[in-house]
């Protein structure tokens, strides 16, 4: 299964895990499976229309999925997705 790496600010919504396996063959399916398993994440990642919020960046390997095929980007079983959050601390 593909793996999703979760940044610290969101880990409290996935029982403190640093990464979780996600199911699906596209980024969209993977994100839906994640939010079904951890519903508290949904308000953080999506807007009221269910779309990913603009500050949520997903990278497949080194590439932003916005530079690939967006949510339709295909996922292989060994792929690693990474959420890169907005962080303000200084």
């Amino acid at each position: 299964m593909p793996t999703l790496k979760i940044p610290t600010p969101l880990r409290s919504y996935i029982n403190g895990q640093t990464e979780v396996p996600v199911s699906g063959t596209t980024v969209e399916q993977a994100m839906q499976s994640l939010m079904t398993e951890f519903p508290a994440l949904r308000t953080h990642l999506t807007n009221s229309a269910g779309q990913l919020r603009p500050f949520v960046n997903l990278f497949l390997g080194e590439d932003n999925i916005k530079d690939l095929k967006g949510l339709d980007t295909p996922l292989g079983p060994d792929d690693i997705l990474r959420l890169v959050p907005s962080v303000a601390g200084g």
Partner: protein
């Protein structure tokens, strides 16, 4: 024409002069160069110290805060003897002690749309060492509009990010983050905590990138975002590309001047106290104490993390960490008066929004959090 180095400077910078990539000409470049550091906190401290030590001839420092004891765990440009002093004065004193030959300008004012152009104008490179989203977007737009590089760093607990946003050559901050997260969604270091060394690591990387830019050497972080994890001791990179729809650096920009960044980020402006909602949905520590004394039946909900209870707690309060609140709504009675609190009022303001959106109306936020209670009601409790 680059300035000459004095005999004293040749001795001081001898380890730089020995490096072919720097050498005498490079050191003269640094002497002629300038850097503006926005924020003299966790990130700004190591940046300022290293740029001063390296011989950057003109350094600007922007901050409007005073040194507090809780800063000293990570803000290493300040010392215990400077507690209560203006941060820019404290930092300037330290930098001039480190390197008396440089010029250090202190700007004891908030960095805003009104003064940013004026303050930044003489400087070659801008370093983002701030702790809030409005100023980060302001710095980005300023750098895009003026063609200056924005050396970026940001931290959270054990994780840090760094990059160089230089719109002339690559993406800007808005290309990656077109919009800020809603207020309260991303906790600040003041609420979430931060490993004291973390800003040292990220700030030192920012200083490195600034020096490389000023010298014109090496490959910069432009077009790459460094993701550092102190617990894993991992340094990973992701690629950043220019967003063709970017509102400030794209081919059809909508932003031609600096805007109101507090409004853009949906947060109260600087004249509001931390954790203040500016509405009728909060009460002060003294008001809460009065209500409890006269026997009002109030359900106190502490939304801090469990480990914070060992520092201070309120008798009778129930601990439901903010991240778990949504899952515990059924346990709460919307007919009962509820008062939410955290450390300083920011997380409980977010908790208030969660309860409000679930239909709760008899709910208030303790303004200033348990720290306000410790200052105004029960002085036996520590402030943290």
């Amino acid at each position: 024409m680059l300035p000459e180095l004095s005999r004293e400077e040749i001795l001081r910078y001898s380890r730089h002069l020995l490096i072919p990539e720097v050498g005498l000409d490079g050191q003269r470049k640094l002497k002629a160069s300038s850097a503006l550091i926005i924020g003299t906190g966790g990130l700004g401290s190591p940046v300022a110290l290293y740029l001063a030590a390296a011989g950057v001839g003109h350094i600007g420092l922007v901050d409007y805060d005073v040194v507090d004891e809780s800063n000293l765990q990570r803000q290493i440009v300040h010392g215990t003897g400077m507690v209560g002093r203006l941060k820019v004065d404290s930092a300037r004193t330290r930098l001039l002690d480190l390197n008396p030959a440089i010029q250090v300008d202190a700007f004891n004012e908030p960095f805003t749309s009104a003064n940013a152009m004026r303050i930044a104008e003489p400087f070659d490179v801008i370093i983002d060492g701030t702790d809030n989203f409005p100023t980060r977007y302001l710095i980005n737009d300023l750098c895009v509009l003026t063609g200056k590089p924005n050396v970026y760093g940001a931290i959270y607990r054990f994780e840090g990010q760094a990059s160089v946003f230089y719109a002339r050559e690559g993406p800007c901050y808005r290309c990656l983050f077109p919009e800020p997260p809603p207020p309260g969604l991303v906790p600040s270091c003041a609420d979430a905590g931060v490993l004291g060394i973390l800003p040292g690591t990220i700030g030192t990387i920012q200083a490195t990138e600034a020096i490389k830019f000023l010298l014109g050497i090496g490959s910069s972080l432009a077009g790459r975002l460094l993701l550092y994890n102190a617990l894993d001791m991992s340094f990973e990179y992701v690629k950043l590309k220019k967003n063709p729809n970017c509102k400030v650096c794209g081919p059809h920009p909508e932003i031609a001047g600096l805007v109101d960044y507090f409004e853009f980020c949906g947060v109260p402006s600087l004249d509001h106290a931390e954790g203040s909602l500016g509405s009728g949905w909060e009460l002060t520590a003294r008001q809460l104490a009065k209500k409890l004394k006269r026997g009002d039946k109030i359900r106190l909900i502490d939304v801090r993390e469990p480990h914070e209870l060992a520092i201070s707690c309120l008798e009778g309060a129930q601990n439901i960490p903010l991240g778990e609140l949504a899952a515990h709504l059924e346990e709460l009675d919307s007919a009962q008066e509820i008062v939410l609190f955290c450390k300083s009022g920011t997380r409980s303001a977010r908790a208030l929004e969660i309860l409000m959106s679930a239909g709760f109306r008899k709910v208030k936020n303790l303004r200033g959090g348990i720290n306000a209670w410790a200052r105004e009601v029960d002085r036996s409790l520590p402030v943290y």
